[in-house]
Subunit: 560 residues, 2 copies
């Protein structure tokens, strides 16, 4: 094969010189034939499109080097063919090259080939699977890996098989499989090795499938700057409402119940801190856990408020009913309705920094991020990667018949929550040190954080608060959640210029954003404050939904 | 509690007015006592350090608000204390505040407390675990979450417990646990709820542990720009050698054999492409698989050579003995000796683009990266996150007694490899389209890619090449691997200015970098070429080992 490729360049010169003379000669050969050579057109057709009646392949538009090589193989007896083995020895070297060049220049056509009769109908889907993915259990690589993803053929070595006549394909595979003499040509020997691993059913399936491929298609293309960029998601703005819409909270509860009651649910027991291994990975795990607890040491770099990870993810993310963080490792990359695209774990973690911490995420390969991801992975130790892990997030409560109430919430808050979180919701500090987290106000999570959705807050409170003595009734938990959510907090970073627009596009949950509570109109506090100087700024390149929403708002305005 | 906190501000004013008068008064109280009030010093000591003999707590330096609150509790009967319940009712409001202020101003000391006698010795480790992590199974949160990570106490509500006298701590926990009357004070009720969940052994363990904490320590600190940045790794340069060092290859083989023969090994069967789910996650998985195969469509953006992912990761990463990519999902974050730190999956994938594709990695949240990670995660479906997944990477061969040979390798290459990869190693193209991948030269993987380590190349070739007919002997595979590795390829991007230095710091495997083969001195081709215009550039912030190595080279030079 190698020798043939080197010879081809020389042959091209030879061909150019003899074209005029060979022209008449091969026209005769193709249409009329000679005494010893039947007309090519008899089986292959004048335009080289082949014939199902006699199982003649479509040779139009195949690589000239491949066609010439095949003819020489028939002539020398190294390639077997019931008909061609008898014809090829009669052709001169010049005729072979001229014929190859002639048919290579013709256009192939997609044809509606009849399938050869087989005992059971050919399994086209099986054929496609072998073509595209191989049958690796039997040692068969994908046909596409050598013949091209569209079966278009690759150089003189691997012929085009797209749209080929199926009876021919079956016969050829059978010949290769049954030939007792391995070919001297290493690529023919390779194909024979593959053919031997195919069953007769596989061969029929492949013949049926490759017949369906378009022989005029070239290599696979299609990646463009546009489709390598994120698709612009379709944003669905919710209707404006002047009261809390409880649908989202109730739906969240029902969906979670269904998942929790799934018989395949996997209940995880995380390892304990004393099981953290030694070595560099253990160091990262330990550092990640430390960050979960001592998050305030990142205040001013990545954290813009008074919270710590462990404030919401109790027991440093290892408490099952307080948003345990172990499921993330097996869940991500995951589609999130919050931002309408598939997120990596990095982007999810970046969201915590942006919203819950009202800060700016560390860069992807930074030590802080690697530590957090290491810790989360370690907590997930043993979870099968396709497990339905429950519980996860917060355990929701059904939305009560009698709706939550601000005044009742205030009373419960003062009696049970204010000692640690302050009557003003600002938490408690020991000097500069945050002793207990603020629940609203400028140093708490912002309007983009998940905790301001009422079902999350109520579920968290019910199962966890007061810490160490979680004994509130469902009704108390709902009331307190509403009370807390009815106070101002930092602006949603996805701010669209008005509370109404921000609510329509980004606040479709059960929450108070944009509604008026005894503490004012929630979210009506202007644009987000600039990040404090010193906060790092890692850029995210995922779809910028604010841009999408702004465009949609502009279009709606223009339509009116 | 809330009411008390509000009153405290008023009391401070009152205190300021009466300090002079109270000064003499409390000195007497502390040192001598009165008819009805025994001297505080009798039990707590003049400096408030407490006493193990009578189980009196160290009150020096505790929060004044807490101390006053405790005294008022004793006075009102809402707080129980065998001794103090009798004394506190005799104190005036002014005396209470003055005493609290006095002891709060004294310095606590770390003391070597004797442990109270218990049936079994107190389990200090258990105490530390409850203090730091809680006993969540029993509903006990970590003591540290309210009392501070160093037990330093938080505001007037949660007292300092660091270094406290252990007999007192045990008694107090017992009182709280056994008090039949829940306190009106919500934080005392909370602590009582926690104390009830502790066993007597837990209480002894806690008392023993908190006694060991330093009462002078404040809040946890220690994060600095320096320790949030990556630690500078210790680089170990290997000695220069003028022949291939086979140690690395043999070690790799032996380590892998050990892993493969581990009885706990998990053998993975990945899902097949027809099982890719619908929906946005399925789209990403499909796109990721497409990128694995049609990688050349990224040529000029992220890919700088003629390779595709599937060239090395056969069957689009789903072939067990050709570097299957499924283990990555459960392995990362992982320590890599290649760059001496813990890597996320993103950084690992970025490495493929930098070295194997001689290009530039896409940004972390880019659609290309999300698609690749999604596909890899899907291929891992079902793997437990702590599984020892084998096989992985390439399946190594033992280093043969008779060392691999260039000339023998050349002969095998010409006979079995050149048809697809070209005699010049440049692969085969169909016009602009890469039909078969180059194995060396400017369009192949660079000197930083894993495949130029001989055990990887030999293992890959032995089990996979020629594709569809992998029948080479071990010796042939080694010879061909050596032959391929003995040709030039693009410079190692970690280039340190000379082949010798680059080899010493980064080329410690079994390979030819820096050695002279029939094709020249390997790697001696100058600095890496600039990336073609148009190649994107995502920055990695992980430790820059080239900087570390350059510093080390400079220091060595200075030492000479």
């Amino acid at each position: 094969m190698h020798a043939r490729r080197q010879t081809l360049a020389g042959l091209t010169l030879l061909l150019a010189a003899s074209t005029a003379q060979a022209g008449d000669d091969i026209t005769t050969l193709i249409t009329e034939g000679t005494d010893t050579v039947p007309a090519c057109a008899t089986c292959h057709g004048e335009t080289g499109l082949g014939s199902a009646d006699v199982g003649a392949p479509m040779i139009a538009g195949m690589d000239a080097g491949f066609l010439a090589g095949a003819l020489r193989g028939f002539a020398a007896g190294t390639r077997r063919g019931d008909t061609m083995s008898g014809i090829a020895p009669e052709l001169s070297e010049a005729q072979i090259d001229a014929l190859a060049a002639h048919f290579a220049a013709l256009a192939p056509e997609k044809q509606d080939w009849p399938l050869p009769e087989t005992d059971t109908p050919a399994d086209v889907a099986r054929g496609e699977a072998i073509f595209r993915n191989g049958a690796w259990d039997a040692g068969v690589p994908a046909c596409a890996s050598c013949h091209g993803q569209n079966g278009e053929g690759q150089s003189a070595t691997f012929p085009r098989i797209a749209g080929q006549e199926p009876a021919y394909v079956m016969t050829r595979l059978e010949q290769l499989a049954e030939d007792p003499q391995p070919s001297d040509d290493s690529t023919v020997a390779l194909m024979a090795s593959v053919a031997r691993k195919l069953t007769p059913e596989d061969r029929a399936a492949l013949a049926a499938f490759v017949a369906t491929l378009d022989p005029t298609a070239g290599h696979v293309t299609g990646y463009t700057a546009a489709n390598l960029a994120w698709d612009v998601p379709k944003m669905k703005a919710s209707p404006l409402a002047d009261a809390i819409d409880w649908t989202a909270a109730q739906t969240a509860y029902e969906k979670q119940q269904k998942r929790i009651n799934n018989p395949k649910v996997y209940t995880h027991t995380p390892p304990t801190p004393d099981q953290i291994p030694e070595g560099p990975e253990g160091e990262m795990i330990r550092f990640g856990r430390d960050i979960f607890i001592n998050t305030q040491q990142l205040r001013g770099t990545y954290v813009g408020n008074d919270l710590a990870c462990t404030n919401c993810h109790l027991n440093a993310g290892a408490k099952a009913d307080a948003a345990p963080i172990w499921a993330t490792t097996v869940d991500f990359p995951q589609y999130r309705s919050k931002n309408l695209h598939v997120n990596t774990l990095y982007e999810r973690l970046a969201g915590c920094f942006t919203y819950s911490m009202n800060g700016t995420p560390p860069a992807p390969n930074s030590k802080v991020m690697v530590a957090l991801e290491s810790y989360m992975k370690w907590l997930a130790t043993g979870i099968p990667s396709d497990a339905i892990v429950e519980p996860r997030g917060y355990i929701y409560l059904p939305v009560p018949e009698e709706k939550p109430d601000y005044a009742r919430g205030e009373a419960v808050y003062e009696a049970r929550c204010a000692a640690c979180h302050g009557s003003d919701g600002a938490g408690v500090k020991n000097g500069d040190h945050v002793a207990f987290p603020p629940l609203w106000g400028e140093n708490s999570f912002n309007w983009g954080a998940g905790m301001h959705d009422l079902e999350k807050a109520a579920g968290f409170i019910k199962h966890n608060m007061p810490l160490g003595n979680a004994d509130l009734s469902d009704a108390d938990a709902w009331d307190v959640a509403l009370y807390i959510d009815s106070h101002q907090r930092p602006q949603d970073p996805r701010w669209l210029g008005s509370v109404e627009d921000t609510r329509r596009f980004f606040q479709r949950g059960s929450n108070t954003y944009g509604l008026t509570t005894p503490a004012g109109k929630m979210g009506d506090i202007g644009a987000p404050l600039p990040k404090p100087a010193g906060l790092s700024a890692a850029e995210s390149v995922s779809p910028k939904l604010t841009d999408v929403a702004r465009a949609q708002i502009a279009a709606e305005g223009a339509a009116n």
